[in-house]
Assembly symmetry: D3
Homo-oligomer: 274 residues x 6
């Protein structure tokens, strides 16, 4: 909870600094206004509470009436929220609220497209750590609003043994064994593999999750069959909207998609004054 507060405060300090000088000199103190947040295109809503927090942080007396809930499908022209309060406060907070929400809705909407693309399979779409620095908690929340699930939040709450860890540890078996005896028993152990031979080593070492990294569809199918119920499978690398359905069709459990958070086009939202 402190994290969202930190994000909002950092964003406001960055934009407002020592003051919104234009508003201070042009708007007579005491002037009130009504405004609405309006969708200028279709998208999945995410971040409406964050937007409210921005306005309330600038001015706790602003009225913010939320009309829609995060996670719902919004159509162009729909009103997301009504605002009423000091005209100066609304103008000062506007840009930060929109900057945050436009990114969040964009992530949710893109996630939804991936989720829809694999709807007929058992595959789950998850995010990665390729988020915008400082906003991870919002990026990951937006993925959930779009119907995706989260991979580990950071380096601290999940184990993912990559190629370089394996190399330094001296092999897959050794790397997994070290993790198993030293880490909290509450964490599963995931390991990256690049071919069927490595998959077999991972299985032998009883990995809990096996990442199939940049494998061809054929390799993936082979790996999925080999693994069966002995571990979860995660496809990673080369995933995009063109490829994701075929990847899902290989039978993998999880598909991780960096693009959900590193390459997005801001959703179009405006604040209109009455």
């Amino acid at each position: 909870m402190f994290e969202i507060q930190r994000i909002v405060q950092t964003a406001l300090e960055e934009d407002i600094g020592l003051g919104d000088i234009t508003t201070e000199v042009t708007i007579t103190s005491g002037t009130t206004a009504r405004a609405e947040l309006v969708a200028k295109e279709d998208f999945i809503l995410a971040g409406i509470d964050v937007a409210e927090k921005v306005f309330k942080t600038v001015d706790s007396t602003v009225d913010f009436e939320r009309l829609l809930q995060d996670g719902c499908q919004v159509r162009k022209g729909e009103v997301l929220a009504w605002l009423r309060g000091s005209a100066a406060s609304l103008l000062t907070a506007e840009r930060v609220a929109l900057n945050l929400m436009q990114r969040m809705c964009a992530i949710a909407s893109l996630t939804r497209r991936y989720v829809d693309a694999v709807a007929d399979t058992k595959a789950v779409i998850v995010d990665t750590r390729k988020t915008v620095p400082g906003l991870r908690v919002l990026d990951k929340y937006s993925v959930r609003m779009g119907g995706g699930r989260n991979h580990r939040i950071g380096l601290f709450d999940g184990v993912l043994i990559k190629e370089n860890h394996v190399a330094a540890a001296g092999g897959i078996a050794e790397a997994i064994s070290r993790a198993r005896v030293k880490l909290p028993h509450t964490l599963k152990i995931e390991i990256e593999t690049r071919n069927v031979d490595e998959v077999e080593q991972a299985l032998a070492a009883a990995a809990d999750i096996i990442m199939l990294d940049n494998m061809s569809l054929d390799e993936m199918r082979q790996a999925v069959e080999l693994i069966g119920d002995r571990a979860l499978t995660e496809a990673s690398g080369g995933v995009n909207l063109e490829t994701v359905a075929d990847i899902a069709a290989t039978g993998v459990d999880i598909i991780s998609v960096g693009a959900l958070t590193h390459s997005i086009k801001a959703a179009d939202i405006s604040m209109l004054f009455d």
Copy 2:
């Protein structure tokens, strides 16, 4: 200078939290490694110093040899920097360094495309306040590396009187006059106009900069002619790579482009271990 430090530290805390548990248990302390940052596609470089700061913040003994300078054109396959140091430190810092640099290079590269598109005109490409919250200083730096220039940094260092300010102040003349007598004499006064009539009012009030907001090409041409040398002109709204050349051809001085920072596709960069 404190701002970049804050960004790097926030990003590392967010990703590492109480520790990179995978690395801690798989990499024997004392293991060293060599790695390189490699371009996986063409782009304009931005953020190489930020990447270095990330690695040095994680471990001040890491060797980071920069091979290229921010602002230069990088080709796919080129090495950006050589690294040498603790294998654990390199692995722990990798993702944050890449997340930051991939975004920065993407912004610089996109800016360059806009700049190139208006190369035959006098128009200058500038950014907006539609940046990712918390990273504005890096977003704006990246725009400069791509050959663009910055608009005001935030609400505190530039005056931009928008439609709603005008409405609340009771007219263009009144809004400009309030700004002129109250604000530091070091700032120019910019005002948003939506049609030629408003342009005339802005000229009458001696605005220093007149924004032509969402005008048609014809209106812009008319406004530019009307204004002449009496104010700077800034085109805003509806600017994309398809339209920017035509907008520049109207003779405007400045074109502001929100997409430079709100809708970008991460540049592809990898850290490869030797």
Copy 3:
């Protein structure tokens, strides 16, 4: 807005530390009191809201009734505000509230004397960056309450090319030209000149504001005439209450006065308990 909060909290932490031990042991919990803030001499009021914020930060249940507004002329004996609440809270907050307000009123009052001294001219009195570190936002606000205007807030929001910048850049023309092509178009360019020859160079380079630094009255008059409407003029150096009227009479637009904030005598204000 966060800045004033930071100032108040820093000031309270500095004074209270781990507790107001005298008050804690002598005042029985639950004891309430009434008090008033009283002027012990004439001054211009500034900082009444800051004082309120101090009391409210110590104890949000304190009643603070403001009787006068910032910017007004206060006479000795006038009551600025009534307070009612926990006796302990009032005593704990008293010194910080007074320390801040006494400085602010002093700055406003001194500014007013300068403003009055040039009342018959077009000259505007502005402050400098010679403020007390950490309190700039309050110092600059107090100048405005006294009828002055602000120069740039810091190094980030205004351009002032000084002698040493000129020397390093290789001349006035070059320095101004660098600033013009690199900085946001929203900022005017100010340059320091020491004699008429430099004024001519600044004019040739189309500086927006020309500072006349430590010039004699004759030189200033000559410079003002030379410049005419082509740039704003700012007198700087050697300004005090004895000289300011003569300087204004030269026709300069702006007079900057470091003493407004670096050499002040605290206004005399007391908190009296009923």
Copy 4:
């Protein structure tokens, strides 16, 4: 130690914000310079280490050679320190370094005048809590450099029972007794008295220090005689350079002077480039 770091960082952030834009665009990177800090009038030196810390915080490669020590008498024209390093760094740090040092030297110099005025007596000059919020540690240090001593730092490290505490506690005896049984045994108990009757009550309650608040010279003499060796005496209120010698002549041990820190005229110091 963290406190001075906090002050320097806050001051630099306040002044530099997101960058010294003038210096960034006019000074070619790599340009070095030599400069010196020079006294433009006589004063007692205080803050030379703080100035060094400012320059080093901006740029740790700046060379700062201190020529004089805090506490010494400086004459007009004397050089305080030599600097060498990046021209940009010197220019960016200059104002903050001077703002801090000019205030500190002013406090030290004013303190010295008070100390000299009572040189023939046993009286010690001490400061109060009437310091500039946020800079107390520097203000109090400067008083020591001028030959004065410090009163308590804040509300947390010394007991001073004032009139309002006495009133709320129900009398001098009760207030002192509460303090004695509840507070750390390491602290002396000081109480404010306004007349000889209260002095007698304070003595009866075995106060360690008796403040003689706003008493006439006659009352003070009478009180000092009455108290003898049974408590320390502190004169407070109405102390200025005209009255301090007479007050000291009454035989009081300590004289506290708010003006040392609340009403000072900045010492004149310049940074000159070679």
Copy 5:
């Protein structure tokens, strides 16, 4: 006041991080609950307000009805407070609230045992600086709730000249004399002595408080007699529940006990849901 806020926030951030993931996924939003804090053994209560602050910080709408006051004797089975509010909030805050309160009650209870052990003497039980880093203000508060008193809070608010200070200063007389002329007159001077010879030196130098460090009971008695009313005496070293009564019987004024805060067994408190 800011300190307790800092402790609570740090503790919650440490435990909750980016979210209480178990509660988020298992508890339906809107579910409310009632719970009570119950003593599972006898102890002295301390920290009930801190516990409340923890719950309120997590969720300001939680109802917290305190049934007992800090400082009172609690019996096994007694209810300390009733809570009502969001089930999720109660579960998220529970552990931090208990961790803080269980430590505080333990300190208060242990202190009470020492205080009771010396009840027939004039000796006062005080704490030391051997507290848990970061929680000193709570540790010292808990000592007071148990009937003890506080020694100095830290290095900044009390003078305690130890053996190594004496050695470096060149003797007891010199060390005390330096302290007397340089430190605020509001502080008493305490010095550590290890034998009667040093006690005599301390007396000759007019120390205000003489610490008898690790002396035998005989030495202590001898020292106490020698000192008489000329200074306060403080026994230190080798104090435990077996020895404290004998130490008190020597006539010392103060006994400082490190174990009060460095070696405690958490009090047993549970939060039970209705």
Copy 6:
């Protein structure tokens, strides 16, 4: 890494505040000293690097030569580290360094006793979230140095469904199912059970880890047998040095012990000057 820095800085600020006034006035600047950290009893070492960080933070020029490594068995009288540097710095840092290290060694030593007590079984000793607020990362590290392992760090990195979560979710099956579809696939799901019936429900719902909470030895044996290889088992509640061996003998995989961190007796360590 930032966390340990935060702990050290918070601890030093808390103890030193605005200065170690005793040391400042008694120790002549420039005085150097040699000292050693010595064990006054047997213990397992933990925190030697943290101690070094404390000294280096106070004064980066202090020489700290570590003689032993964390995790080793130390005997009474052994020297842990040699220090050399400014006498003032050593004295100022001493208490904080010892406070941290004495707690850490105590935790490691107590953990070792538990680990030794179950040495002949497969049971692993783990900690809980019953740590001292603000020091969790050190508490958990010390447990590892004593041969124990860590349970989840906080609420954010592990799932533990307790009785109240089950009640609110409407049953064990439902609670586990919610967790499985919503949480990152990298986390195992642990659930608290109080009897064999609940164990069976947990098995049916395919819990990854089953906590046997406050069960009798018989119940635990029965549960362990029932569970077999289908889940990990964790014993919790009523664990102490008397009971732990019998609990381990039931065949549980993991035993969690709150006392490791909530009830410890500081290890005895001194800093001795040469």
